[in-house]
């Protein structure tokens, strides 16, 4: 009886069931197309830009999670892979466009446009898009190659060597680009006369690589974000994910159980570098961004690390959420007039949270979800108060936004040192399951209370 028709319990094993074959990949690409075609025109330029940044940041945070979260190594040079991928793709794109199309201006279709006022009928996909896709992939591959060269010697060693080596690597990349290269070539004839192997010399130097076509769009950025999450999830939920996580959990035991720890650490590192390189490629071709190695130094790496730690080391959804929150938060803080209306969110959150808390206390149910609601509500309320005071005194709160940003980080890390989701995914344990259990515990209690 127990063996034949028994249904296997779905549990918090890392094994997934829904993500089968090509279907999710196709769905992600389709969703990205739909967002670009239907939602992009409805959004203002500002919101579209925030969404664009969210996509790129998700790629960066989720890819770094594979190293710092899955295998427990500590890379401090993720932005360097972004720089390598970005500059590589930019070089291919810029000089490739000149050589192939005669000019470097944007020649992409609807899917590549972040401009809302393009004239005339625009094709969906052009040879420019194809070149952009190719150079993005190439940027990712070159970054992955660098990841291999950096990772192989440093990941053989245990401990903090990787942190030091990656920090050094990041600085080397930055300095090399700034010191060894010179201004980009702008003259079509000159570009035509320059041999291909010399192009990497003309990528902007200390002033940055300007004149790049702005191909990045919601299609590219959100599409890549979706594919990065899918890839990370599929790795995590496979035997290779278990191998990665076992290294972080106990390297000696992992090795004794037959895991070639060096090989897997290098693999995680190379995959992460590949995605960071592609994120860099998108970043380089974003409207309003000038590709400058100076901005892709260790400060940028720390930004990504903060996202990963905040989301919970090892949690893909956690890293993605943290990327979203930390992209929106500084923009929100920039707009005090908007923040004043935080009451609209804060009051129902706090009131609802307190009501649920009382209900839960009476039923002796878990109070963590109401607490979370109250905490979030209080945070929003405090921001609203600060914004209101600042407005009455004529202070520009936006100038102090980094203080609030830092404060928010400190408060979150004190309240949840393991990060928002620790190692699990939101659908495994996080809010959903907590909410479900909590509702169930309430229902059970009410059921008994009824006569």
């Amino acid at each position: 009886m127990a063996s034949a028709g028994q249904i296997e319990k779905p549990g918090p094993t890392l094994m997934g069931s829904a993500a089968i074959g090509w279907l999710p990949t196709i769905a992600i690409i389709l969703a990205a197309v739909i967002i670009q075609i239907t939602i992009r025109p409805m959004l203002g330029d500002f919101y579209a830009k925030v969404l664009l940044d969210i996509g790129v940041n998700i790629v960066l945070a989720v890819s770094l999670t594979m190293v710092n979260g899955f295998t427990g190594q500590f890379s401090m040079g993720h932005a360097a892979f972004m720089a390598v991928g970005g500059y590589t793709a930019a070089t291919v794109m810029y000089y490739g466009s000149f050589r192939l199309f005669g000019e470097a201006s944007m020649a992409g279709g609807v899917l590549s446009s972040m401009m809302s006022d393009r004239e005339g009928p625009v094709p969906y996909f052009t040879r420019g898009d194809l070149l952009f896709l190719a150079s993005t992939l190439f940027g990712g591959l070159v970054a992955a190659g660098c990841g291999y060269l950096v990772g192989l010697p440093s990941l053989r060693l245990r401990g903090d060597y990787l942190a030091i080596v990656t920090l050094g690597f990041g600085e080397i990349v930055r300095v090399l680009i700034q010191a060894l290269t010179t201004d980009a070539l702008y003259d079509a004839d000159e570009i035509a006369a320059t041999p291909v192997y010399q192009f990497p010399k003309y990528i902007g130097g200390a002033l940055g690589f300007s004149g790049l076509p702005f191909y990045n769009s919601l299609f590219w950025s959100l599409g890549l974000a979706g594919l990065t999450i899918l890839t990370a999830y599929r790795i995590k939920s496979s035997t290779f994910g278990r191998a990665f996580l076992s290294i972080r959990e106990d390297e000696i035991a992992a090795e004794a159980m037959g895991v070639n720890t060096t090989r897997y650490k290098v693999r995680a590192f190379v995959i992460a570098a590949f995605f960071a390189g592609m994120a860099g490629a998108l970043f380089a071709h974003t409207s309003g961004v000038q590709l400058n190695a100076g901005e892709l130094g260790f400060l940028k790496s720390f930004d990504i690390i903060i996202m990963v730690v905040l989301g919970g080391l090892g949690s893909i959804s956690g890293a993605a959420f943290a990327a979203i929150i930390l992209t929106i938060l500084p923009e929100l803080l920039r707009q005090p007039a908007f923040l004043v209306h935080g009451w609209i969110v804060a009051v129902p959150l706090i009131a609802g949270g307190i009501a649920l808390r009382m209900l839960a206390a009476r039923r002796r149910a878990d109070t963590s979800i109401p607490k979370l609601l109250i905490g979030f509500g209080v945070a929003v309320a405090l921001l609203a108060i600060a914004a209101a005071i600042a407005r009455s005194r004529d202070i520009d709160l936006g100038r102090y936004r980094m203080i609030f940003y830092a404060l928010a980080l400190i408060v979150i890390m004190i309240a949840r040192p393991q990060g928002l989701l620790s190692v699990r995914e939101i659908w495994e344990r996080g809010l959903w399951r907590g909410l479900g259990n909590w509702v169930r515990s309430l229902r059970r209690e009410t059921g008994e209370a009824r006569p």
Binding site: T13, L245, A254
Partner: protein, 261 residues
């Protein structure tokens, strides 16, 4: 000679840490199906022996042959792949992973899928993952841990953690299983169960067992041959009864009356 090839043949391995000779000229022969014990006072070098056999340390001298293949000084994952699995004296589970994932990791070294297949979720990958999970659940059933499969390994009681470590080691499909103090921290009833369990896995998985144990009751009852170490030197080898009455062994454990060290 019975004509069977020894499954594990250790010839005179030694290891020194600086001036301390932790293990000297250690030799051991395990025939298929054996259950042998390795005992000795604290600090005698038992765990160091295990670390030398499994590749955590590289021996300064001597040879280790596993199932006819030379594995001396190989890295631990290669030795695990060659068919030697172990547990640890101070339990080394993967605490944040579920009980099931701990055992499923044990099957990792026998998987034939590659990472691209995992990322593309091919049919082969899915079938392989299902097989790994089935196998892991069977092992958990055997160790009566199946009801806690979804819990984090860290949440298990001590005795269950020891059992989980053995289950994880068995998932690597070993020919030789090294158990480092499997009964440590167990109560008398659990110790009794453990004896039955070791006997059962020896038969069902046809593994050969070498164990380190402090509990003489356990060692004497399940081991056919016992090797006694003291200060890194083998002082006695033989069946339990003979070893127990060996004066050198008694001296090592109790000291010689009247002799001042």
């Amino acid at each position: 000679m019975t004509g069977t090839e020894p499954i594990l043949k250790v010839e005179g391995i030694s290891k020194a840490f600086g001036g301390l000779k932790a293990v000297q000229d250690f030799a051991l022969t395990l025939n298929p199906g054996d259950v042998q014990g390795l005992i000795g006072p604290n600090g005698a070098g038992k765990t160091t022996c295990f670390n030398l056999l499994t590749g955590v340390y590289r021996p300064d001298a001597g040879r280790v042959q596993l199932n006819g293949a030379e594995v001396t000084g190989l890295r631990p994952y290669l030795i695990a792949g060659a068919g030697m699995a172990r547990t640890f004296q101070n339990i080394r589970l993967f605490p944040d992973l579920s009980v099931l994932d701990n055992v499923m990791l044990g099957s990792h070294l026998r998987t034939r899928q590659n990472m691209t297949q995992a990322i593309l979720r091919t049919r082969f990958h899915r079938a392989d993952e299902r097989a790994i999970e089935r196998r892991a659940r069977r092992l958990l059933e055997l160790f009566e841990l199946d009801t806690r499969a979804e819990e984090e390994a860290r949440s298990l009681p001590y005795g269950d953690q020891r059992k989980l470590e053995i289950a994880r080691a068995l998932a690597t499909d070993p020919k030789v299983l090294l158990l480092d103090e499997p009964a440590a921290g167990m109560n008398p009833q659990e110790k009794g169960e453990l004896r039955g369990l070791i006997d059962r896995i020896r038969r069902e998985f046809s593994v050969t067992v070498l164990l380190i144990e402090h509990d003489m009751n356990v060692v004497m009852k399940i081991c056919e041959t016992i090797t006694v170490l003291d200060y890194g030197v083998t002082i006695a080898v033989g069946p339990p009864g003979r070893v127990q009455s060996d004066p050198k062994v008694i001296e090592a454990y109790l000291g010689v009356p009247g002799e001042a060290h």
